[in-house]
Structures are given as structure tokens and as C-alpha cells.
Symmetry: C4
Subunit: 185 residues, 4 copies
């Protein structure tokens, strides 16, 4: 996951001397900075949750390996999707909508892969400390809400790209304060 | 290995605004995306198998160090070979064949280095849990099949570059579902 | 943090053959090398201190997670701020002042985030080995001096960019020899 | 150290379609590939030796931290020095000599920093298993030979850049087969 954060930061950068006032150069790049912060927290949260989910897993088998690689595949695509969105966010044409929707699709893929790992972990004897039965339902509810929220952001992307980014930022903020799946502590 | 995955993802990217419809720009890059997915799973699988093989090794000596560095040398060349193949895959000339064959050669080098580590691990007292005698033969068989399959993909590259990539993708898919060397569990 | 150091090193580089004497090409890039060394030690120090602070923490909760991600957000911005400063340091105009001040602001944000982690760690039962009461005051004093020194460097940036970089280098040198927070050993 | 290897691999790459035969494009880049292989093994060896040296250290203090950061500073500069040398190696002018000498200087700095860590580790009570008295002398001898060999390569760089690279490759090969400092096993 550190990989994905590395690539995110590569998107930051301004032109060198000779292109006018530095503050204006930076201000014009606000989509890159906003996208960087949003994607940074999204990857940070999934990193922490993924780590605590995997620590609880007793034995890794082939299906889990495959799901996990799929999750990673989406995570490593986030920097690409972020960069594309940041470049097109302030364009006036159809491309801004498509770039932002594509960003949402990558996040949706990431969210669903993570939910699949959680689903796998519910199988008998697969975790050191099974998730309590009462918590399973609320975890699924939260995964579903997250998946729906990303779908909503994808739909909104076709109306307003910046609004879609704001919704995705809101989802990230929500997950900073709310852990999925719930831990016993 | 995380290094190699980082570099893979650097190959993804589209041109900024002003070059036409975004969807068309992305569609034209299908070789880059296909190559990214194939190489991603190849590195992911070798990562997992390498990790479980090394965990079983009791004492690291100079020859193992040298073989291991050679393996890493090939792994870190995968992103370069992937990028070159992706750039040339849809070219109509001889270069498409050469770029794809080169990709196969790097994978062959990686596969042979990994087989060399396995061979080394069969020596007396080199592993915590020796591979059962019955499983050694089937492991060698699988290594040989993999090495032959890559050789086949290299040969096919001179006929059809996309077909060669498809074969390599098939090998990757096969290894996702089949672990080499076999574990006791 | 390794991520941030990776990105730092990406800023080093000279033009290829055909641009004159190599030694002159490198000499003209002294701001990039000076900035690299300063930022390298700043990230190195925060890495070590962060590692020893986190090792002492008994249980990670949501606020700590949030503060920690904020710290990382600033750390990962250091290479961008370093590159921008290095590019503009020898420019004669207002941009040199702004680029250097921006560098100081990112370091100030990093320092305050790290102080916030330290503050959090003082809560009851949050660390394995609580910081001795006598050492808490001196740790806060050092954090405050650091924060003030960065503020000073930001102010000086508007008078002389190279002098500001020299002050920041001095702060880094000070922290190499002085550990914050103090360990018992 | 993974960082430095990442950056090394970034130097590999060929031009896209439309620049002639791919095999010729790659052949023209032989200095980049030779330099990649040499630097790869140099970093790989220092990584392994550094790891085994640090594992033996009982308590990290400020001087060690400072020496270690200095070592890392040189290691992270290797990709830059490698890229510069690879670019200039086949140039006919003075720049080829300077670029190759600079590469040797960075390696010399790395070697001396590593020797300094070894020297530090000889202090009373600093290691779990002190290096046997008899082995200390032979370790110093090998460090001195290494330092002299790099000095020789720097001197040769001013006569023939490719010969200097060959000497450095020979030093790397030597260290692959000879561990410094010697382990008890």
C-alpha cells in the first residue's frame, strides 16, 4: 500500500521558474492537491483496516490470495485514477465527468474486494477471533452503505465532477472515524 | 518485490486535457492495461511463493544469496520489459515480436531463478520442514512445465505478440490456482 | 517514510550529454543537493523518533490514527516542497521567498503533528512505559523550540531564501544530536 | 535500500515506436544495462551485510544513528550516480571520466560509512555476539582493500571510463562471494 501512496505523491509538482507567480501556479493546481488529500486518506484507511483484518486470519488459502491480489490491483490503480481525475477535474467537457466516474469505479472495486475479504473471513475456523454474530450484520450494513455511497458518487460525477469528489472525500472522512469491521476492543 | 509493482503502476497514465475524448485515449492504451494486469499477477504470485519458500529455509549461505539476487534482478526488470512490450504490442512491425519475446525471456529468467532456489532448498538440512520426497518430483514437473510454457510463449511471440501475451496471462492464471512448491497443508 | 525518501532522491539528476561540462551542470544544481541533504536528515530523524514513540504505545485508537495519517500527509509532501524550493531557491524574485516559506510551512505542519502524537501518548495507560513526569516538561520545551525555530525560518524566508534553508539545516543538525522525546536509557 | 533499487530500475527504458529497430535501440543502451546490473549487486550486497551487522547490535545510540543516516544518504545517491555515469559513459569527452569518477566517489563514501558502522560496533558491549578478536583484523583488511579498490577505480576513471566500471563490477563480484564482516557460522 506504501506503493500506492508513493505514486500519489508523484502527482504533486509545479512548473519551474519562468512561468509566473508561484502562488498562482499552485492555486491553479487545487484539484491535484484536493485529490491527493482525499486519495491519501482513502488508502491510509484501507491500509489500517486491511492490516487489522489480515492479522486476525488463521490460515491463508488460494481464494484469499486471489481476492487479496485483486484488492491490491485496485489500490495500485488509485494513483493513476487520481492523477487522471485531477488533470480533467476543471475541464469543461464530458471528460471531467468520465475521469471522475472512473475514479469512483476504481474505489468501488477496491471497496468490493475488501468486502469480499471480510466475507471470506466469516468462514468456519478462518480467523483467530471470529467476529461476533451481532457485529457481522452491522459490518455488512456498513460495507453496503460504502458501496452505495461510491455508486452515488459515480452517478453524481456525470452531473458535477467537483461535487462527486466532495462526496468521496466525505466517505473517506466517515471511515476515518468509523472502523470496519468492528474490533472487540 | 513491492518495488517492481510500484514501477509497473508507473506505466499507467493518459495524456492530459486537449487530446480528445478521454475514453478513446484510455481505449487506445489497452495493451498497457492488459500488460499491467498480467505482470501484476505474475509478480504477486512469485512474491507469495518466494515468501513461503524462504520462510522454510534454515540458514542462508552465499550461493543462495547469489541466486536470490539474480531472481530479484529479473523481477525488477519486469516493469521495464512490461512497459516496452505494452508500447510495441500494437505496432505492425518486427519490433512487436521482439518486445514480446523479450518480455518472455525476462519471465523465463525469473522462473529459472526461482526453480534454482527450490533446487538449493532440497539440500540436506537446508529447510525447517523438508519437502516430502513424493512432492519433489511433482514440483520439478510443474517448474519444467512453467519453463516450457514461457519458452512456448517466446516462440509464439514471433508469430503473434497479443497471442503470446494471452499465453503468459494463462500461465499466470494457472499459478494463481496451483501452488509451487506444494505445502503440506 | 521510505516513500518520502524515495521521492526526495527523484529530484536529483542532471541533463544528459550535449549541455556542456558535467561539473558545471552539477554545480548549478547546488540548491537541489543542499535541499536533498537537509530534507533527507529531517525525514530520517522524524522516522527514528516516530518509530521509538510508536513502539511505546499500548493501544492504537481512532484519534491517534487520524493524527498519524496527518503526520504522514505532511511527510509525504516534503519531497514536493523540497523540489519546489530547490527549483526556485536561486531565482531573484518573490517566488524564491514563497517557495522557501512553503517548505517551512510543511515542516511546521510535520512538527506540530508529531507533537500532537506525543501529547496523545501522555494520556493515562496509553504507553507501555510512561514518559517520566520530569521529562514531559523538557520534551514540550523542545517541541516548542522546534516549532518556533521553523516559524523563524518561515519569517526569514521572506528576507533571504538561502539563509532560511541554512536555519532549517541547523534545526535538523540539532535534532540529530538531541533526541525528542527523551528515552530512559 | 529497497528505495535505491527502485530508483535504479527507473533508469531502464527505451524509446517508443518510430525510432527504428528495437534491438538496436536496446543495444545502444548497453551502458545503462551494465550500470544497472553492477549497482544492483552493490546495493544488494550492502543490504545483506548491513542487515546482518545491525541485527547483532545491542543498543542504538546517537552516533550510530548519525553514521547510519550518512550511509543511507550515499546509498540513495547511487541511482543518481549510476544514471549520470550511464548517460555519459560512451561520450568521448572529459565528462565520461568525471561521471565515472563521481560514481566511484559515491561508492567510496558508502564503503567508508559502512566501515564506520563496523568500527562503532567493536566498542564494548555494543553487540550481542562480539566479533572474535582474530576476525577483527581480517575484517579491517578487507574494508581497507575495498576502500583502496574504489580509490583505484576513481583513478582509472580518468583514463578509461568503461575500464573503471569493469573494476567496480569486479569489486561487487568479489563481495558476492566474500562476506564482510565474517560471521561465526
Amino acid at each position: 500500500m506504501a506503493v500506492a501512496i508513493t505514486l500519489l505523491a508523484l502527482n504533486l509538482g509545479v512548473q519551474g521558474p519562468g512561468h509566473g507567480a508561484l502562488l498562482e501556479l499552485i492555486a491553479k493546481q487545487w484539484p491535484a492537491f484536493a485529490a491527493y488529500v482525499v486519495s491519501f486518506f482513502i488508502i491510509g484507511i484501507i491500509w489500517v483496516n486491511h492490516h487489522s483484518l489480515l492479522q486476525n486470519i488463521a490460515h491463508v488459502d488460494r481464494p484469499l490470495l486471489f481476492i487479496n491480489l485483486t484488492l491490491l490491483l485496485f489500490v495500485v490503480m488509485i494513483p493513476f485514477a487520481t492523477a487522471t481525475m485531477a488533470q480533467y477535474l476543471t475541464a469543461d467537457d464530458q471528460n471531467a465527468h468520465i475521469a471522475t466516474a472512473m475514479y469512483g469505479v476504481v474505489l468501488e472495486g477496491m471497496g468490493l474486494s475488501f468486502a469480499a475479504i471480510f466475507g471470506w473471513s466469516l468462514g468456519d475456523g478462518r480467523t483467530h477471533n471470529p467476529v461476533p454474530a451481532g457485529a457481522v450484520g452491522s459490518a455488512w450494513l456498513r460495507f453496503s452503505l460504502g458501496a452505495l455511497a461510491y455508486l452515488g458518487a459515480i452517478a453524481v460525477a456525470f452531473i458535477s465532477a467537483p461535487l462527486s469528489l466532495a462526496i468521496i472525500g466525505g466517505i473517506a472522512l466517515y471511515y476515518v472515524f468509523e472502523r470496519t469491521p468492528p474490533s472487540a476492543a
